[in-house]
Point group: C2
Chain length 314, copies 2
């Protein structure tokens, strides 16, 4: 068929019993309807409408043609309703990338989300790699960085800010004896830096004083869980995010070191693409994480320690 719009024009003229009335209803010029329906009759080789001024009648073949046209138009309306529903009710699959450190918190907030949106499937990729959303077809990435990387193709949603604190196992601290801010650089340390042999911690105390501590870490790794495990094992002093520290310390696996000193903020945030037509499912998960994660991080002591860390401690 030359132009599918013709069936809509024809159906409108039939329904409104005239070109002028149909033109007013559709808000198009009547010449458009006149020409299109004439062309449709030409193409089909049958007369759909018998008409003169002031009289219009659908022919027999026209009526049968109209019946199928109206079914087609009903299908189109249903198709449009599908699109509208897709915008309103979250459904489908959402892919989330998050660092290992956040896995327990994500595990904590997801059941509520899934109960609230049963039609949404969430696929979570847990790793400490920097995820390329577009290339890896991720919808959302959860990150915790001292600074937010500006990327004009991505949208950032800040969640919360967490300070990082010094911690070590009680056994190590008993072995090392008293530690001061000035002697810290001589102690065995653990670092997030996996590229250089030395690292610098910029620490701030409650009085606002700043102290740069240049140290040579025993282990350098960008995986918090590796560092966390090494600290628990007594390999050295680590600078860990607030929420991780408090959870581990509650069960006595780590103890605070120089508790009046802490490091620069780590900003937890979500990143997602700017592509238009974002599905409600993606939007809903973003909203849920933005609401729930900060609360969980603020009372992270309530979060159960992962079983493997328990086993490591025994």
């Amino acid at each position: 068929m030359r132009d599918l719009n013709d069936i809509a024009y024809f159906a409108a003229v039939a329904r409104h019993q005239g070109f002028s009335a149909a033109a007013r209803a559709l808000n198009v010029p009547k010449s458009l309807l006149s020409k299109h329906i004439a062309a449709l009759e030409q193409e089909l080789g049958v007369r759909l409408l018998e008409r003169s001024t002031r009289m219009l009648r659908v022919t027999e073949v026209g009526q049968r043609f109209l019946d199928h046209c109206e079914q087609a138009l009903a299908n189109v309306e249903t198709a449009q309703a599908v699109a509208v529903a897709a915008q309103l009710e979250p459904q489908g699959t959402v892919r989330l990338a998050c660092p290992l450190g956040f896995a327990p918190m994500i595990a904590h907030v997801m059941p509520d989300f899934s109960r609230r949106y049963p039609k949404v499937q969430v696929l979570i990729s847990v790793s400490n790699r920097r995820v390329d959303l577009v290339a890896e077809q991720m919808d959302i990435a959860l990150r915790a960085r001292p600074e937010i990387e500006m990327d004009e193709t991505l949208v950032v949603r800040r969640l919360s800010v967490a300070r990082r604190r010094l911690a070590a196992s009680p056994q190590l601290l008993e072995r090392l004896g008293a530690i001061t801010i000035d002697s810290l650089h001589k102690q065995p340390t653990l670092s997030m830096n996996s590229e250089h042999g030395t690292d610098r911690w910029t620490l701030v105390n409650e009085a606002g004083d700043t102290k740069d501590v240049d140290h040579r870490p025993v282990i350098g790794c960008d995986d918090f869980t590796v560092l966390e495990r090494a600290a628990i094992e007594g390999l050295g002093i680590a600078l860990l995010p607030d929420h991780m520290c408090q959870r581990i310390m509650r069960v006595g696996l780590l103890a605070p070191v120089l508790p009046t000193w802490s490091a620069a903020e780590a900003i937890a945030h979500l990143v997602f693409t700017t592509r238009q037509g974002m599905l409600p499912a993606v939007r809903s998960l973003i909203d849920h994480l933005a609401t729930q994660l900060p609360r969980v991080m603020a009372r992270c002591s309530e979060v159960e320690v992962a079983p493997r860390l328990h086993e490591a401690a025994e």
Copy 2:
């Protein structure tokens, strides 16, 4: 929806797994498909296709949208098939206008037509008025005129030519005595002319001689059946079409007058509108009448006299 053609474009791209393949299949530029589908996604507010160069995937909502679109397109195809079928198999209603004089012949040929095309309903309007096809919504008019009126909006299909002959009742002829071509003008006559007090018959003999007979008819009426009845009743000499004469004479109700003389031809013909999109039903009836009527008129003596004429003769 802005443009219903978009659903056809989208369905084609999905079916062919790519814009370029779909463009080749539909024989349209791929830029058209690209722009239309982008506009459709904008209008619906959802992404129907995930795509990059060399990769195309229908999204979940796109698949559900596509399912309904394909149903719509199937209905459009069915609607088109209805139109095609209407062109091939004659069906529906045809309206035919014919003069009273032809009613018996029409009655003779119609049973065969109805048996051959059971889905066609023929509505026959019998009258001697000049029928305006368009105004009166007639499909076909049967006419017998000395000359065919040229009307550029109508199509004419000649059927046959019938000469008109002089006839009178035997009783009248016995009363009048011998009649010659020269004395004809003094005799009581009957005329088709209903407007003027006098009339002229232009008669031709077998030798090719022409004679204009100016006469003052006893009765002037444009209805052949009225004239036929008046002739049978002995009111005067009438100039009647060949096929009517032979039928009436066969049963002795009328006798020929000056049989070597006859009048100009009466051309039996069909007229119908030039409007395109003529239905097969109308076409079929035209063909049937054009084939059968001349045969019937050629052997009109086989046609039964109408019952009321029998009664009038008794």
